[in-house]
């Protein structure tokens, strides 16, 4: 850790400036208050403050090396007590000795100097405490800064990995069941099998090749959903019915890539997978001035006990929207008369201006 005094020009000038100020006060008290001659006041002030100015820089190392471990421990008190005693003895002693040497003949001053020693001890303790506290505050501030930096980085990493995870979220069972359907169709209806292979390929290409951090038009997103629904339709036949009621203006709006697929997967999973009656999946979109609204609803059988895993898909979508638009309430769900509805409110512009196509 770099010494706080020598961080930059500014910290150096602040430190020495403070000492010049202290020396000035010291001098003024001696000169004006105690009427001590100018040259002696000046020498007294310079010697005492000069020594402490240099020792003050050294105190940093005492603090740095007594820092690790628990602060309130015995070694902490011991370290500071030792360094304080050494400092006071050295400081007051050297000052006294040199001034004694300089002004050997001035008994009045030497008398004053002798009497002032207890006060100098007290001032020494105060200054030591003050300097020490300053250093501790600087260390704490630096720790906080480091922590904040680490946290930001962590959040970024988390965001990245979370998004990668979300991307690979295509349900493998969907894939295997679709492949099984294709396997079956190659025998019973090869034309349809070919059609389904193409649809599945297009769906996979869209999922795999789109960068999850980017945005795309709702048109492309809906095209992908149609492919997905048509694949499921081949699997489930009459049991799956889907309808789209979209404002024409919706198609050119931008949405995060693959934001809709998990919602439709949810609708199919809790609607079609669990029902023996036909399930209708209705998708609507309305445009407003600075946002647009996508509604996806599906019927479901209320007598089926909820399975684990419901809600994870929705949670992920909410999290993605939060990361991209910095808003927690863009996804809402409603249950009314055995119809489950998801409402997505998408602002026209994401917070970060990273609109990519």
């Amino acid at each position: 850790m770099i010494h706080p005094v020598f961080q930059n020009l500014r910290s150096i000038s602040v430190y020495f400036g403070t000492w010049i100020l202290l020396a000035g006060i010291h001098f003024s008290i001696l000169f004006f208050q105690f009427r001590i001659p100018l040259n002696i006041s000046l020498a007294d002030s310079l010697i005492y403050n000069g020594i402490l100015c240099i020792i003050g820089i050294a105190i940093w190392y005492v603090i740095r090396y007594s820092m690790p471990g628990n602060h309130a421990g015995f070694s902490f008190i011991f370290n500071h007590f030792t360094s304080l005693v050494l400092l006071l003895v050295f400081w007051v002693g050297t000052g006294y000795a040199s001034l004694n040497l300089l002004f050997r003949d001035n008994t009045v001053y030497l008398n004053f100097l002798g009497l002032s020693i207890p006060y100098r001890f007290v001032i020494g303790i105060l200054l030591y405490a003050f300097i020490g506290l300053g250093y501790y505050l600087i260390i704490m501030y630096r720790d906080l800064q480091d922590k904040a930096k680490a946290e930001t980085r962590l959040n970024e990493l988390l965001k990245e990995s979370e998004l990668n995870m979300l991307k690979s979220q295509i349900n493998p069972h969907f894939l295997f069941n679709s492949l099984n359907s294709i396997s079956s169709l190659t025998i019973t209806d090869p034309g349809k099998a070919q059609e389904m292979v193409i649809k599945l390929s297009e769906f996979l290409r869209y999922s795999v090749s789109s960068n999850i951090n980017t945005f795309t038009t709702l048109e492309k997103e809906i095209q992908n959903i149609q492919r997905y629904l048509e694949i499921e339709k081949i699997r489930f036949g009459e049991k799956l019915v889907f309808e789209f009621a979209m404002d024409p203006g919706c198609y050119s709006r931008y949405v995060p890539v693959m934001i809709l697929q998990p919602l439709f997967e949810n609708a199919i999973k809790h609607g079609v997978y669990e029902s023996i009656e036909p399930v209708k999946v209705i998708t609507g979109c309305k445009t407003f001035a600075d946002y647009f609204e996508i509604r996806i609803s599906n019927d479901f059988d209320p007598s089926v006990p909820a399975r684990k895993g419901s809600g994870i898909g929705l949670k992920n979508i909410r999290e993605r929207l939060r990361l991209m638009y910095r808003n927690d309430s863009l996804l809402k769900t409603f249950i009314l008369n055995n119809v489950f509805q998801v409402v997505l409110t998408i602002p026209n512009k994401p917070v970060e201006n990273n609109l990519k196509q």
Binding site: N177, N180, I187, I276, V304
Partner: protein, 249 residues
């Protein structure tokens, strides 16, 4: 001799391929196709097939739930896209477990196993053992339970369970709406329910931790667990220890 088979799967193409493959295998006749668990259960009970092709994830009842509810189950070949249920399937004495999509050879092999069993009445155990060993998945916890009363099938989530009580070879499941008897062991429930939530407090009791109102000393050696619905269960010393550990008392 012709054996009767039923196909239960909620996806038409999946039923089609089984029927198509079976057409080329002599000696097996498809007598019904069902697209959900309820219909499948009813068909098995009414038509008494020799062999059932059973999907696992289906509406109403899963394949496992269907199998549990049949009294004298026929031979079962599970066909599913999920690989994590293999252990459970073989625990339930499934004849085979084929993963979708499967080849004609794999399908014929499974049917061959079933036909051998039907002819000899013996299980092809070694292969099953091998399969269990190669499956490296962990057992899934139960999420819901299906029980059958005289005319009806009830399905409820495990969260609804208040407590389970041993009743000879059966377990009495106490839920808010009533009690249901299930032909399973306490040990089975102990290992298939979330151990953080369902606590075996006694040889005869497994209790849902959320249903507990308070715990009192009963006598020197045992404790009484009082439930929110008013019931009082006995806890053994070891059961009380477990309770303390899980509830962080």
């Amino acid at each position: 001799m012709t054996y009767k088979a039923i196909i239960i799967d909620d996806e038409k193409p999946a039923r089609d391929i089984i029927r198509t493959f079976l057409k080329d295998i002599a000696g097996i006749e498809v007598i019904a196709e069902c697209s959900d668990g309820f219909a499948g259960l009813k068909a098995i009970q009414d038509m008494k097939p020799d062999l059932v092709f059973l999907d696992i994830q289906m509406p109403k009842l899963t394949g496992f739930e269907v199998l549990e509810l049949i009294e004298n189950p026929p031979l079962i070949i599970f066909s599913t896209a999920y690989d994590q249920y293999a252990i459970r399937a073989f625990e339930m004495n499934a004849t085979d477990y084929i993963l979708k999509p499967y080849s004609r050879e794999r399908f014929i092999q499974a049917v061959g196993k079933a036909v051998t069993k039907l002819q000899n009445g013996v299980a092809a155990q070694p292969e099953v053992q091998m399969l269990i060993q190669t499956a490296d998945e962990k057992e899934e916890l139960l999420q819901r339970i299906a029980v059958k009363t005289r005319h009806k099938v009830h399905v409820f989530g495990v969260n609804e369970i208040i407590y389970l009580e041993a009743e000879g070879d059966y377990v009495m499941i106490h839920i808010k709406d009533g009690n249901y008897l299930k032909e399973k062991t306490m040990k089975y429930f102990e290992s298939h329910l979330d151990p953080e939530k369902f606590i075996r407090i006694h040889r005869s009791f497994i209790v849902n931790a959320e249903a507990i109102e308070r715990i009192e000393l009963y006598d020197k050696e045992s404790y009484a667990v009082l439930l929110k619905n008013g019931a009082s269960l006995k806890a053994s010393t070891s059961g009380y220890k477990l309770l303390k550990q899980i509830l962080h008392m």
